[in-house]
């Protein structure tokens, strides 16, 4: 197994927003989700995930409530707000634009 690569700078927010857009999720599930969907390539540092969740809450992109998880324990569930959804669309667009531009440069430059 390859060691998971660190996240691209500035993509944590985008990944969280995208993940939560599926439906309310607790922090562990968010981390798991990103880990899994990236084929175990991306690993979210817990030490960054939770501060990020709070920051996005303060910014009004996420809202949270405590719910009982299917396994029966109490957990905080994060969900996307309307502002968060708007932010997600914007960030996704910006990310795609940046990636395709970067790709163009990479493809077009032969050593």
């Amino acid at each position: 197994m390859n060691a998971p690569s660190p996240l691209l700078a500035g993509t944590l927010d985008l990944l969280i927003l995208k993940t939560v857009s599926i439906g309310p999720m607790h922090g562990y599930a968010i981390a798991q989700h990103i880990h899994r969907l990236s084929n175990d390539a991306l690993r979210v540092e817990e030490g960054s995930l939770y501060p990020a969740l709070q920051r996005m809450q303060v910014k009004g992109w996420l809202a949270s409530e405590t719910k009982r998880s299917p396994t029966g324990r109490q957990a905080r569930y994060y969900r996307l707000t309307a502002a968060g959804r708007k932010q997600l669309i914007a960030e996704e667009k910006a990310f795609r634009a940046s990636v395709s531009a970067t790709t163009l440069v990479l493809e077009g430059t032969k050593p």
Binding site: G27, Y28, G47, Y50, R55, V58, R73
Partner: protein, 903 residues
């Protein structure tokens, strides 16, 4: 930040504890979930838990990171700096106290002076609408190079001015009086303002009850007897009951109360606020038939002040030009009545639309100038305080140099360090400013009594203008004192400073400190020179021979309140009052007069053989009954005083002052000379006859204290005012008349017919009023000079003491090498004295170059007086010596052993 984010952060900041808790909770939940999954992957529970912990990492660090999102990191930094500064200050109580007290004195002096000057000169009157467009009318005339500015005019001139000014949106007249108000026992002297109906249009004031009077009630010759009372009078005398329609006797007329002014309404009264406002057209009838018959007929009686509101688009200059031409036209109509009104070419009439507050106007008088000077002095005290504080801060920063260096070495940015030092200074300034307001409030009570009219509000804590000034002072003081030391502190060579002990690398810095000590010393010298000059000036004013002894004399003003008497009854009543006064216990003499000193008037006087007596100066008269010269202790130098024999029908006689005799008949015998005096009830008749000079009296100050040629003549009451006069002087046996004041007042009021009463006050008060502006300058200069000296002494002491501490090692080495303690003391003392001497030289140079500005405020006292300068110089050097005494004894104890051991 968007608004949403700010709101989010704000609510997050408020819930920061809860959020922190939440974060920790989330992360612990995460650990548990992770451990569970790891267990499912086959790890033992303990291993799983440990691995999960490892993976999740440090919860505290995540908390720290997340904290940036919760609130306002910059605010948190400032709060942190403030806490840090507060802790630092608490740990150095000596430093903190000295700085706060020094700043408080500087800021307090300025807050108090500003509070006073603002109230006297700048603050607009309460309720005055759009004060920027309102002017007071000043009329000026310049006759023979001497300019007279007046703010009171004949009522007819007010009518002329209001008719002839087209740039004025409204014009109003006002006139301040003191009348007896009430009836019988309840009668009190009150401030009464006679105002035109248009006056109320200047204000945004609505009566609390009832109404103000209107134009129909303010019509010459006699307006309606209606009165508006002040809110205060309503509260104190009427208990806020329904007063509308009630009768109120004001002066000698019963008025009907129609309204109550709103609280704090004082109109444009510069002295005490009016208790009662009545139509100005009722004032003359309240003063008597002479006033009533003349106020519309001629221009002789100056009693009306005039306010103008300019139309939009016109400035004060254009209104002034219009006032000038109106004044010229008004003088022309005055000349039509009295041909002796001087031609315009001789007096250069000028109208000025000036500030409503006459203390800021063109005829502000000496007191305003002195006040502005003292305000400058207060600023100087603040500058001295700042120099001192800067010095202390510098010393503190140097003392903390190692700490600062270590922090710099550990990676604190210079900006953060400066920010922290400035925060500390700001905190000090805040403390100093607050203490300064308290000091100004306390010290200001004394200043207010000295300077402000009675009934002035002087609560500085609720006065935002003064608070703002104090705050600005504090801020300026901070910037001036903190920035320099802060920058200096961070500009250090790290390596060198870390290696060096306290022994090295301070000499250069102490040069900045010496410069500050010299600067504050020099400013103190300037202040002390000012104080010395003002004190010597006052001593000279007080040493002026007045030509009378006012201390044991009471001035009595009779107010008959319109009690109807014919001439004979009136004369008899006044004779009875005089006789009653003479037999009162402790009274040694009494005399009638027509006006007390400094209120005497000039009258119609001609001397055969002298064309224009006006060219020689101002000749004032005093009408007296026999005994006057004994009561006042004015010596008769030649001839005789006025006696009982000088009655109606006998030869008209006069006593003239020595100066007047010399001016009119230089080198010739004044006795027996003939003067034509047109005064009294039949001026034409007396003017036609000869009033013979029968005596020469010593010069006495009756016109003005210092600016007075002392030209006085005294004429007999029986001859020129047979119906009697309204003022009396009573001399008592005691050295101070005020002890008899109440007894005299009660006894004479009992003798008054009808509702009449008497007003008594010590004559010395009148004299003191005229001494006031002189004493004012001296008192304030001395007070601020002493303040400055104390602050400078503390600064000098601090600087020397610090130097000794720094040089303890060097001094110890010197002692080890054989220096005697005398040498060490000399070393320290010489340094202090040298600094003091440099300060003296600079200070005296500054003082002498400022001399010509102070000169006009001094009385027969050169502003470059060598004696004052020498005393201040000697005093300052002595003070420097004193400041070094304690550090010098400490230096003496420098221990050679300690020094050598450290080597």
């Amino acid at each position: 930040m968007t608004l949403r984010e700010i709101l989010g952060r704000l609510s997050a900041w408020r819930r920061r504890d809860e959020l922190g808790h939440q974060l920790a909770e989330d992360m612990h939940a995460h650990i548990e979930l992770l451990a569970r999954d790891l267990r499912q992957d086959g790890l033992s529970p303990d291993e799983a838990r440990a691995a999960a912990r490892r993976q999740v990492g440090n919860v505290t660090r995540a908390l720290e990171e997340s904290r940036d999102a919760w609130g306002f990191p910059r605010v948190d930094v400032v709060v942190g700096d403030l806490r840090y500064a507060a802790r630092g200050l608490r740990r150095a109580p000596g430093f903190t106290t000295t700085v706060v007290v020094t700043l408080a004195l500087g800021i307090g002096a300025n807050a108090a002076m500003f509070g006073v000057i603002d109230r006297l000169m700048f603050r607009p009157f309460a309720y005055l609408r759009d004060p920027a467009t309102v002017n007071r009318v000043y009329l000026q005339s310049t006759y023979r190079g001497r300019t007279t500015t007046s703010t009171t005019f004949p009522y007819r001139r007010f009518l002329d001015l209001s008719r002839m000014t087209s740039t004025a949106a409204m014009v109003a007249a006002e006139s301040q009086w003191r009348f007896g108000v009430g009836e019988g026992e309840a009668t009190r002297i009150r401030h009464v303002a006679g105002v035109s109906a248009s006056y109320f249009d200047f204000f945004d004031a609505t009566p609390v009850v009832g109404r103000f009077f209107g134009r129909a009630e303010d019509v010459p010759p006699v307006g309606a007897a209606v009165a508006v009372i002040s809110h205060e009078l309503w509260t104190t005398d009427f208990g806020r009951r329904d007063v509308i329609g009630r009768r109120l006797k004001v002066g000698m007329i019963p008025y009907t109360i129609i309204g109550v002014a709103p609280p704090g309404f004082r109109g444009t009264a510069e002295a005490a606020p009016p208790d009662v406002l009545v139509p100005i057209t009722t004032i003359p009838s309240n003063l008597g038939s002479w006033a009533q018959s003349s106020y519309l007929a001629d221009y002789r009686w100056d009693w009306t002040e005039v306010l103008v509101r300019r139309k939009a688009g016109f400035d004060a200059a254009s209104l002034g030009r219009e006032l000038t031409s109106a004044y010229v036209a008004s003088r022309a109509s005055a000349r039509a009545i009295n041909p002796r009104v001087l031609p315009d070419s001789l007096v250069h009439p000028l109208g000025i639309a000036g500030p409503v507050k006459s203390a800021a106007g063109p005829d502000a008088g000496m007191e305003s100038r002195v006040l502005l000077w003292v305000a400058g002095v207060a600023l100087l005290v603040l500058a001295i305080a700042c120099a001192n504080v800067a010095n202390l801060m510098l010393a503190r920063v140097l003392r903390r140099k190692r700490e600062i260096t270590v922090r710099l070495a550990l990676g604190v940015s210079r900006g953060r360090l400066v920010a922290q030092l400035v925060t500390e200074a700001l905190l000090l300034a805040l403390l100093g400013g607050t203490a300064g307001i308290v000091a100004a409030q306390w010290g200001g009570v004394a200043i207010r009594r000295l300077l402000l009219p009675e009934g002035s509000d002087f609560n500085l804590a609720t006065d935002w203008r003064t608070l703002a000034v104090a705050f600005v002072c504090a801020l300026a003081a901070t910037l001036a004192t903190a920035i320099g030391p802060a920058i200096l502190a961070t500009r250090t060579d790290l390596a060198a400073a870390l290696k060096a002990g306290p022994r090295e690398g301070t000499l250069g810095r102490s040069r900045a400190r010496t410069a500050l000590v010299v600067a504050q010393g020099a400013m103190t010298v300037v202040l002390l020179v000012g104080a010395g000059l003002f004190v010597r000036s006052v001593i000279r004013v007080e040493a002026l021979p007045l030509g009378y002894d006012a201390h044991p004399v009471l001035e009595v003003v009779l107010d008959f309140r319109g009690f109807k008497m014919d001439s004979a009854q009136s004369a008899a009543t006044r004779r009875r009052l005089l006789a009653a006064a003479r037999v009162l216990p402790g009274v040694v003499g009494a005399s009638q007069i027509n006006s007390y000193p400094f209120s005497t008037n000039t009258g119609d006087l001609r001397i055969d053989g002298i064309d224009s007596i006006q060219a020689l100066g101002r000749f004032n008269f005093q009408i007296v009954s026999p005994g006057y010269f004994d009561v006042m202790q004015t010596r008769i130098l030649r001839g005789r005083a006025i006696t009982e024999a000088d009655r109606d029908g006998a030869q008209l006689v006069a006593v003239v002052s020595e100066a007047m005799a010399r001016a009119l008949w230089p080198g010739r015998d004044p006795l027996g000379r003939c003067m034509h005096v047109g005064l009294g009830e039949h001026p034409e008749a007396t003017s036609a006859r000869c009033t013979t000079v029968v005596g020469i009296a010593e010069n006495s100050a009756q016109q003005d204290l210092v600016d007075d040629p002392r030209f006085m003549y005294y004429i007999a009451a029986e001859q020129f005012a047979p119906a009697g006069l309204s003022s009396m002087l009573v001399r008592v046996a005691a050295p101070d008349a005020s002890s008899h004041l109440e007894a005299v007042r009660r006894a004479l009021t009992r003798e008054m017919p009808g509702d009449g009463f008497v007003v008594v006050r010590p004559l010395q008060e009148v004299v003191d009023d005229h001494m006031r502006s002189w004493r004012l300058g001296a008192t304030l200069f001395v007070a601020f000079g002493a303040l400055a000296l104390a602050v400078a002494l503390v600064g000098q002491y601090g600087a020397i003491s610090y130097q000794v501490t720094q040089r303890m090692h060097e001094l110890g080495v010197r002692a080890a090498l054989g220096a005697r303690s005398r040498d060490v003391v000399w070393l320290v003392t010489w340094q202090s004295v040298r600094t003091g001497a440099i300060a003296v030289i600079i200070g005296l140079a500054v003082a002498s170059s400022a001399a010509r500005w102070v000169q006009p405020l001094l009385f027969r006292q050169s502003a470059t007086d060598p004696l004052t300068y020498s005393i201040v110089a000697a005093g300052m050097v002595f003070a420097a010596l004193l400041a070094s005494a304690l550090p010098a004894t400490r230096a003496m104890r420098a221990d050679p052993c300690t020094a050598l051991r450290a080597e």
